[in-house]
């Protein structure tokens, strides 16, 4: 069993492909670690209670509310934030689609929306408009851009399905 005499616990995290060795107090959330110590302010602190989804990041490929994760419990994990979705300056298809469909107003929820949508696509359980709405229900948009958010995700989902079909 790992016992820690010091209040700072050594952990290793790979964030957007970059490995970090950190010493962190056990009460620091992953969200605070990303924002305050690694200066990755894309993931937003909306409610800080797991109710709004603005803090959504991908942990080992799965979308999770980073505000409810203590960073120490994710020692060794691979984290992807909104800053890590673009590929060598090329926008992630979801980022491009959010712009194309004007899927935001104030933009505060957008990093969480896009990370959540990336998780949704990877899960592969979403095949209809109703399922997009249901499977994006963990991300609130106070501006009410839901229609365009669903359009943006549906667009990427359909083009991926078409590409998959063409490949088969």
């Amino acid at each position: 069993m790992d016992q820690f005499a010091s209040s700072r616990i050594p952990i290793s995290l790979t964030v957007n492909g970059q490995r970090h060795q950190l010493a962190i107090e056990p009460w620091v959330t992953l969200l605070d670690l990303l924002r305050e110590r690694l200066s990755l302010t894309g993931a937003k602190k909306g409610c800080d209670q797991g109710q709004c989804g603005a803090c959504t990041v991908l942990i080992d490929g799965q979308r999770i509310n980073s505000c409810l994760q203590l960073a120490v419990t994710r020692d060794g994990a691979e984290i992807t934030t909104i800053e890590g979705l673009a590929d060598d300056g090329q926008l992630h298809p979801l980022q491009a689609s959010f712009i194309k469909h004007d899927a935001f107003q104030c933009g505060y929820c957008t990093p969480g929306q896009i990370c959540s949508a990336a998780g949704l696509l990877a899960e592969g359980h979403t095949h209809s408009r109703a399922e997009i709405r249901e499977h994006m229900s963990g991300n609130l948009c106070r501006c009410g851009a839901y229609t365009n958010i669903a359009d943006a995700i549906e667009d990427v989902m359909q083009s991926r399905a078409a590409m998959k079909e063409a490949a088969e």
Binding site: F4, S7, E131, S137
Partner: protein, 336 residues
């Protein structure tokens, strides 16, 4: 959040040793405990991070599903065998929380989640569950979401789980391990009514850890549903939910199981009422009668009086869905 010590055991035995400290709390997915720590409702002296324990497997052997305590809600709900053979369980899980929360939340943690009573979450108010003996602010207070069955003068909180409502119908068994060794707790005996000890949500003993939940294969085929009614269509706790399952043979009900969520301190089952359905025809008149029977002792608190009528209608509707073999769709939400 208060300051605490942190340990990360690799074995169940080491975790149990650490949990012998009465001020220790086991931490798994964190979706409830971290939230409660932020509100200063939970103030552990020691956090025992159990995420490295070998409790992450889903085993199907013969007619039994055995789910490790650390299996995430998502992994359980989308497991092909669970989708095919335990669809009521999958449906109830997918009716709860959000995909992000389900990715983190665990099976054991779902059973151990605390109530969402506003006063329990607010340390500036009286709450017998949070501070025994301080009183109940919900009685006579804001109590729209509170209990209509099995409440006491000390506490009218409800258990918020969806998954547990399905587990109640499925006749699950909770496997636990503690300082005295291993034991199994029938699901109906796991959660408890508040009585004069509302600080105790369940019958776990000090230092015991849930290791798995075992679930027998259901006998009701497609005659089941999980119907959840709430203030918005998704990502909200139930005002009333119903898990219903019927065994129908030659046009009559051979066996029935009904559990309610959002109405009591535990998933609510009334075995006597269930048995009254045996031998009856699966039709609306019968369903309405059993719904009245289940709610016969219901008591509103003022703001939640509507739940009595809502639950009565929800039971009848859920039984009609089950009889028709038309489980509630958890995506489009249209109630047939």
């Amino acid at each position: 959040m208060n300051r605490y010590d942190y340990v990360r055991p690799d074995t169940v035995a080491d975790a149990i040793t650490a949990l012998a400290n009465p001020d220790a709390r086991a931490l798994a997915g964190g979706t409830n405990l971290v939230d409660l720590m932020k509100y200063d409702v939970a103030r552990p002296a020691l956090v025992v991070d159990i995420n490295r324990l070998p409790l992450k497997s889903i085993e199907v052997s013969g007619d039994k599903l055995r789910v490790g305590a650390l299996v995430s809600n998502s992994d359980l709900a989308w497991h092909p065998d669970v989708q095919a053979r335990w669809p009521l369980l999958a449906s109830a899980i997918l009716a709860g929380a959000s995909p992000q929360l389900r990715n983190a939340a665990t099976t054991g943690g779902n059973l151990l989640q605390r109530t969402r009573c506003y006063y329990f979450y607010d340390p500036s108010t009286a709450c017998n569950k949070r501070a025994p003996g301080s009183g109940c602010s919900a009685i006579g207070g804001v109590n729209r979401i509170h209990a209509i069955l099995g409440a006491s003068s000390a506490c009218i909180a409800v258990h918020p789980s969806d998954m547990c409502v399905a587990l109640a119908v499925l006749g699950a068994t909770v496997e636990v391990e503690g300082p005295q060794g291993q034991r199994e707790i029938p699901f109906a005996e796991f959660h408890r009514l508040p009585g004069d000890m509302p600080e105790r949500d369940n019958t776990l003993q000090q230092g015991e850890l849930i290791t798995a939940v075992a679930i027998p294969a259901p006998q009701f085929g497609s005659h089941f549903t999980y119907l959840k009614l709430r203030d918005r269509l998704s990502y909200a706790f139930a005002l009333v939910s119903v898990a219903a399952a019927l065994q129908i043979e030659n046009g009559t009900i051979k066996d029935a199981r009904i559990a309610l969520g959002g109405v009591a301190h535990k998933p609510w089952r009334d075995v006597e009422a269930e048995q009254s359905l045996r031998g009856q025809a699966p039709e609306p008149r019968v369903f309405e009668a059993v719904a009245q029977l289940i709610l016969r002792d219901a008591k509103g608190q003022g703001e939640n009086d509507f739940k009595i009528e809502l639950a009565t209608r929800a039971i009848a509707r859920a039984l009609a869905q089950a009889a028709a073999g038309m489980p509630q769709n958890q995506s489009d939400k249209v109630i047939q």
